[in-house]
Amino acid sequence: MTALPKWADVALIPAINLVLAFFVSGLIVMWIGENPLDAMTVMIKGSIGSAYGWGYTLYYATNFIFTGLAVAIAFHARLFNIGGEGQAAIGGIGAALVCLHFGWPHWTLAFPAAIVGAAAFGAAWAAIPAYLQASRGSHIVITTIMFNFIASALLVYLLVNVMKAPGQMAPESRGFPAEAHLPTAHEMLAWIGVSFPRSPPVNVSLLIAFAASALVWVLIWRTRLGYAIRAMGWSEPAAIYAGIRPFRIIMITMMISGGLAGLMAINTVMGEAERLLLDPVQGAGFVGIAVALMGRSHPVGVVLAAILFGMLYQGGVELEFEMPAVSREMVLVIQALVILFTGALENMVRAPLERIALMFR
């Protein structure tokens, strides 16, 4: 099916796509009268040039690892879960409820409970489109997109009418108790005597993201369930022949996927804002699609791609700050170009490369 060696597939093509994306971004930066090399320097320095930059980059990366894994695992069953955005938002409700409604004595108890809450809410939200797909054949792409809107509307309703702190103007929940505060990198590194800037919100959730990546790898390539998921993804008729039940696999895979997306909330809601805000996801659900595509649905690829997108986010913020000519929207354009080239236009590079590879056979 592919004529390319594996290293080209996993490394060369994403690299070429990235270079193309930066090249086109550079042209746009030039067009608005700024030096693209300077812009690039600002972005790289701002994202990984300092401990402060790293702190923010990894904070964003944590979100993208969760949503990227969510999309990746669904891909293995050939399910296109576009609902990460909504599942993460609902996961946020789950995390917030756990933090607000129980008197936790210490974060080490609140944290596992919030993990369960966020994952369970995300999974439950994904289970509805999954059921519609599995039993009725309603296409999961359509239903998960629609469920993003429903989730967003539900969140607004809850924040305005139910969860809003009494006597407050802003549609947000009251702050979580201090016992539910998650240790940031600054605090954790201080335990072992390493100093790290105080302000970046990167926190203990990053470790959960890495652990989730490892678990997803084990699940997909080492368990019977993962075997069944992959078989079903490659060929549903063959899966039925082998006694694998598509209904079961669709439900389980989508709930794992939704649970992973929901976990994102422990980073943003519990780790950073420490309250439930109106938009706790901020597009990370959609970035997860690009991350999974670029990471070839492999957990290691997802982690690397998530860090790259974390750099883009953090670098973009710095760029906006350093170069006033480059507006917030311009930064979005650059991020969109990377998504476009690494995700959607993948075959543009792949086809010619395969032709070249064949010539050297």
């Binding site: 369930l225 490659w234 063959a238 039925i240 022949y241 082998a242 694998i244």
Partner: protein, 522 residues
């Protein structure tokens, strides 16, 4: 081509088709290597070869689907470039594809005309086509109702529409690609009569097939291809099936396996009143009953599409059914919660499906992953409740690949990269190695090379001789006759007759396959 041209052709001795040094490769794969072929006008020329020998590529070059990397084509002595199928049609070449290219809800007339309309309105073209159809009907036994809708026609008639399409485009050279795959033996005989009368009218016919019997029966000359090369061109009257088989494979092959007489034991599979609904709500299987005993092969013959696939799917636990099915005396769940393929495997049924590429294997899975496919819940492959024992799977696969002569012996190779015959051997290895009480097997040698056919037939008979029951479904009558102890013939979703293999022949089975039930046997 005009009338002038065809007169000229008949008077000269130039070959109707001459290929000189045609080569074509796809990437690293050489499909055709330096092929030269000369087909005399007014003859039926057979081309035989195993799958992947390059027959189809060669014909695709002749019909303009592919462009040759090197070489020349001469039509009636004149050098001709064929960049697309339009040019092929203009050069008087017509092709009847293995899978018909007809519009199902159009009438015969509309299909014949499609793409060859004369002007703005259809009327003159349709009139011309109608006249042609009536002219040809008697002359060539090519009678088809011009107003019939194609989807209502039998497969044999649909094929005639394809031939008529080519003739309507004034084809003098007809290429037929595996034309008998979907026909009953009587229909195939009819087709050969049509081809013979077309030849007698001066048409040139190229017949591509892998069935040696048909080559012997229908052709004047035969060319053999092997591994992209033309290995021999012989007069059909001066060769034999054995010689052709040897030329195709490159070594001597047994065309028929020797088998010991069966020693049937107690019934293993008892099917009673089995019913399956088809995709459009019609009944695809109507009240089927039969028994397969231990130590015997029951062959299910029939033209493709008469319910055999539904039978396999129902027994294999892929689609739900009604009725009673007992395995070793125990009734199995046909439509309930426990009707999945996993439950069938637990009750002792192993299933080699008709279509290994879409059912039997996950083409992107490695050999070791495929070797556990369907049996991945087996404790032998598990390390804990959740984890697979990959080392066990790999080493077991290595053993099985060796035992079943799968090449290459590489458990890490992806199924797609094995040849068709080796893919089939992987499926057989997996299913037979489980030592099932009942093996149900569909089209075990479809698309498999002659050399591997022999091997596969031997494995199936070994299982029978070990006292297991085998249900064999095949559209290849030769295969049914050579393996079965008893033969059931399916027609229109029913078993129209069952015969002892030793007491029947091709002719009787052919009639049954066409739906003509003979008088009951004493």
């Amino acid at each position: 081509m005009n009338a002038n041209g065809s007169d000229l052709r008949r008077n000269t001795a130039a070959p109707a088709i001459e290929l000189r040094n045609i080569s074509k490769s796809f990437g690293a794969v050489i499909a055709n290597r330096d092929i030269s072929l000369s087909v005399a006008p007014g003859t039926i020329h057979g081309i035989v070869g195993e799958n992947g020998a390059g027959k189809s590529t060669l014909m695709s070059i002749l019909y303009g689907f592919y462009r040759a990397d090197a070489g020349e084509i001469f039509i009636n002595g004149a050098p001709t470039k064929i960049p697309d199928s339009k040019a092929a049609i203009a050069a008087g070449i017509g092709m009847v594809h293995q899978h018909f290219k007809l519009v199902h809800n159009f009438t015969v007339l509309e299909n014949v005309v499609l793409g060859a309309e004369d002007g703005l309105t259809l009327r003159p073209t349709l009139a011309r086509a109608r006249k042609l159809l009536t002219d040809l009907a008697d002359e060539y036994e090519l009678n088809v109702d011009p107003n019939a809708v194609v989807e209502d026609l039998s497969v044999g008639h649909q094929q005639r529409v394809e031939i008529l399409k080519a003739l309507f485009r004034r084809a003098d050279i007809l290429i037929l690609d595996e034309p008998t795959g979907v026909l009953t033996p009587p229909e195939a005989d009819h087709l050969f009569r049509i081809l013979a009368s077309l030849r007698d009218e001066g048409k040139t016919i190229i017949l591509i097939t892998h069935k040696l019997r048909e080559i012997m029966a229908a052709t004047d000359t035969v060319s053999v291809m092997r591994r992209g090369e033309m290995t021999a061109t012989l007069k059909t009257s001066e060769t034999s099936p054995e010689q052709l088989a040897e030329l195709m494979v490159g070594r001597k092959v047994l065309l028929r396996v020797d088998k010991k007489p069966a020693a049937p034991g107690p019934a293993v599979l008892e099917v009673d009143g089995l019913q399956v609904d088809g995709e459009r709500g019609e009944t695809a299987l109507k009240n089927i009953s039969f028994t397969v005993r231990a130590g015997e092969v029951l062959g299910v013959a029939g033209v493709a599409g008469n319910g055999q696939s539904e039978l396999l799917r129902a027994l294999g636990g892929i689609s739900p059914a009604k009725g009673t099915v007992r395995v070793n005396g125990k009734a199995i769940d046909l439509a309930g919660a426990d009707s999945g393929a996993d439950a069938r495997r637990r009750s002792g049924i192993a299933h080699v499906p008709e279509d290994r590429q879409s059912l039997g294997l996950v083409m992107e899975f490695k050999a070791w992953e495929n070797m556990a496919f369907g049996y991945h819940d087996d404790p032998a492959f598990s390390r804990t409740k959740w984890l697979l024992d990959i080392e066990a799977m790999r080493s077991l696969t290595g053993v099985a690949l060796n035992k079943y002569d799968v090449r290459p012996v590489d458990p890490n190779l992806v199924a797609r990269n094995f040849s068709g015959g080796n893919q089939q051997k992987i499926v057989l290895a997996r299913e037979i190695d489980r030592n099932p009480d009942l093996l149900i097997v569909g089209q075990p040698t479809r698309g498999v090379d002659i050399g591997a056919i022999e091997f596969i037939h031997q494995r199936v008979l070994e299982l029978r001789d070990a006292g297991k029951a085998v249900l064999l479904v095949s559209v290849e009558l030769d295969e049914i006759l050579s393996l079965s102890d008893r033969i059931a013939v399916m027609f229109a979703g029913e078993i129209i007759g069952t015969r002892d293999a030793s007491e029947t022949d091709e002719k009787e089975l052919g009639l049954l396959m066409a739906g003509i039930a003979g008088e009951a046997r004493p």
